[in-house]
Amino acid sequence: MPAACAVVAPRRSRLRVAVAVAVSAAVLTACGGSGGGSGRVVPDGQATIAMAFGPSAGYGVDTDDAFVVSQLGVTESLVASGPDGRPRPALATAWAQQSDPRTWRFELRPGVTFQNGEPLTGQAAATALNWVAGVAAPPRAVRGIGLQAAADGADAVRVTTTKPDPILPLRLSSANAAILAPSAYRATPPSVQQTGTGPMTITQANGTQSVTLVRNDRYWGERPQLAGVTANFVPDPAARALALRAGDADIAQELPEASALEFSGDEYVNQTVAAPRTASLILNQSRKPFADIRVRQAVAAAVDRTALGEQALAGSAIPASELFGPAVAWGSQDAPPPADPARARQLLTEAGYGPDNPLRIELGAYGARPELPTLATAVQEMLRGAGIEATVRIGDYDAREPQLLAGDFDMYLLSRSYLLDVPDAGATLTTDYTCQGSYNLNHYCSPEFDALLAPLATETDPAARQKVFTEAAAKLTADVVGVPLVHTNANGVGHRVTGYTVDPLAKSLVVPGLATTE
């Protein structure tokens, strides 16, 4: 019998649905497992997937829907990215920055055709890239860089930016930079049906309910093992868990976190990986009390991050020792420092707080990610142990954001991806932590830190960039710029499935090696 079932956040939750999910999850605690298989691959098998996020923007590749079709193996980009954060060949086999450093040239893979038979050419790639860069709201990966693409003969494309862009290949690994057949762009948003290059082809898109796919026999790579896939879009995590348990789905994405325990053992294959996302306490340094580093250090010492991950979140999150976690090659693998409430009290005393002058603050959080209210309550209790009285205020993030940006708050609990669609942390470090950063909620400003990031403007070598990321994270830890608490996990559960891996960047799921077993 399972130990427990809990929930992962629905992308768009509101109170009623959240309560529904919570109660559903509670009911699920009584559920049991179902049978396993022999492990032999079914030739030309069919798989059904309960996906967490369905299309909400008509499968527009300029929106988050790009991740849906990318995960389903429908679309591909010029470049792929590996777990080490380095670019890898995909539709382009090689690339190089040109003598004019604003231009990169990408050589296209020969013999690739789109699913409808159109050939992949330099012009086709240029059309795709220019479209996504030219929409009113371009995706983050290609926004604000003045991207322009032009065919360089039939087998290459040249991509130019306003300023030299050292990470252009990584930007073009984004699912938003998918290359569709030229005919796709006759519609708005571009049609993804039969116009991708991936191993699977959409045969029927059934609104926000489901999509059916068949193997793309023209695929340039390894022949897909699955003959077909049905993806049902099931927004409620508890419903996805039930679908898996009922046998309606072979794979269920983003299951309730503690379901990872339930769907384990011989009967289920459970794949879990740390996501490049950190839940942190944001400490407003623009005013008292967190302008004083001793108070920030006191908060960091008071919080037991191991207990937050292992107890408060039932082992479904990894304790964070710094901004970056084990999901990325440059992230820390170390355990966080142990809590030290005595040291916290001492620091507070030095800062002028104590029993006669207790420190009272407000701790804000939002409920769209259900782990945050749980974390907020646990942190409140830990702070109390160090003599800090925190009042928890859970509200809507959108409504609170103007105050956060204006510096009108004390402490806020935020869950934030640090890769922002491109496997390079430069963008997050710049927007969130530099003096001119547009999303600098900690209101931190350090000329040394800004100087530390300066090489990122020109450095193209991934190893050198990742060294900067590591140093930046150390500097943020030393200056106590907020307190990273936990890295939340992306969970995926496969049942009678082989070849299933969880991509922390959420770009791939249906890959040629995916198969069902007997």
């Binding site: 529904a20 008509g58 926004r143 926000t208 009922a246």
Partner: protein, 313 residues
């Protein structure tokens, strides 16, 4: 009767205009930046770019006055053009009509089931107030009214899709996929109908003309259905008009839980993404369907109730 129908039909355009003004204005009182909401619905943006927001405002005419926006929208509506969804960028009609069809199917099926179960149970229970059936029904109907849809729905899935896997847990399109959501959605109106019918029937059976009927030797069963049940049916019919509108828009939880692409889920997503063309068209559709259903229910109730019918002549 004809005059009543005419009055009601004439009122429909007024209802539509009032609803159109309301559904246009209400989302704009939310206090949120619509352009920001559109951007977040597309890319989950945490770090909004002012230039992008400005481009979106221009693209969707959000930088114009409310009056310009309203006249533009209402004019298109009069031409039968529901507009283009700001989020999906596809025609609203292509999203709305299929979703409305799904929700209407779900709702009507739930109401029919509720009536088929609730009315006979209520009438039966009224036969002997305080009797065993009455006590069971009272307890059951209280539970039916009180249990939230997400608890009942989950329990039904656990029972019939997991423990005894005879029905699918999610999806829409096949008859078997409709069973559990219809059962979930029918529980509340069935329970309420049973309570209402029971109370009305008990009341009706206590009236003098029923005693007269009984004294004439008419059987208990006939008295029960002819005098009690028919009156109760009138009340339930009237209520069903209200229920249809309510269930149509309020089945969000069931549609999310069972992954059903209905109007409730469409509106839920549209509200979160501030997809105003979809929100406006969806709300308008609900109001109009509810208004038409209300009129039909009223006429049906009159047809069933000769006393009331004579009153409106």
């Amino acid at each position: 009767m004809t005059a009543l129908v005419a009055r009601r039909l004439l009122a429909l355009p007024l209802v539509a205009v009032a609803a159109a003004v309301l559904v246009f204005l209400l989302p704009r009182f939310s206090g949120q930046d619509t352009a920001l909401a559109i951007l977040r619905s597309r890319t989950g943006e945490s770090d909004p770019d002012p230039a992008v927001l400005a481009a979106l405002r221009e693209q969707y005419g959000l930088d114009g006055s409310w009056w310009d926006q309203f006249t533009g929208w209402a004019g298109a509506l009069l031409r039968g053009d529901l507009g283009i969804s700001w989020t999906s960028r596809t025609p609203v009609s292509g999203l709305l009509w299929p979703a409305l069809g799904v929700s209407l199917t779900l709702t009507v099926a739930a109401l029919v089931l509720a009536a088929l179960v609730g009315i006979p149970l209520g009438v039966r229970a009224a036969r002997r107030p305080g009797g065993r059936l009455d006590r069971v029904l009272t307890t059951g109907s209280v539970l039916g009214v009180a249990i939230p849809e997400f608890v009942l729905g989950t329990a039904l899935v656990l029972a019939f899709a997991v423990t005894v896997p005879v029905l699918p847990a999610t999806g829409w399109g096949d008859v078997d996929q409709a069973v559990l959501p219809v059962l979930t959605l029918a529980a509340f109106p069935a329970a309420l109908a049973a309570q209402l019918v029971r109370a009305e029937t008990v009341d009706a059976l206590a009236r003098p003309h029923v005693a007269v009927a009984r004294s004439k030797g008419i059987s208990d069963g006939r008295v029960l259905w002819r005098h009690g049940g028919r009156l109760a049916l009138t009340s339930v019919t009237s209520l069903s008009g209200l229920f249809l509108g309510g269930l149509l828009g309020g089945s969000v939880v069931v549609e999310v839980l069972f992954a059903i692409p209905g109007l409730g889920r469409l509106l839920y997503d549209a509200v979160l993404g501030q997809d105003l063309p979809v929100v406006q068209a969806g709300l308008l559709a609900i109001v109009l369907v509810a208004a038409v259903a209300g009129i039909l229910a009223e006429l049906l109730a009159l047809a069933l109730d000769p006393v009331a019918r004579s009153a409106v002549r």
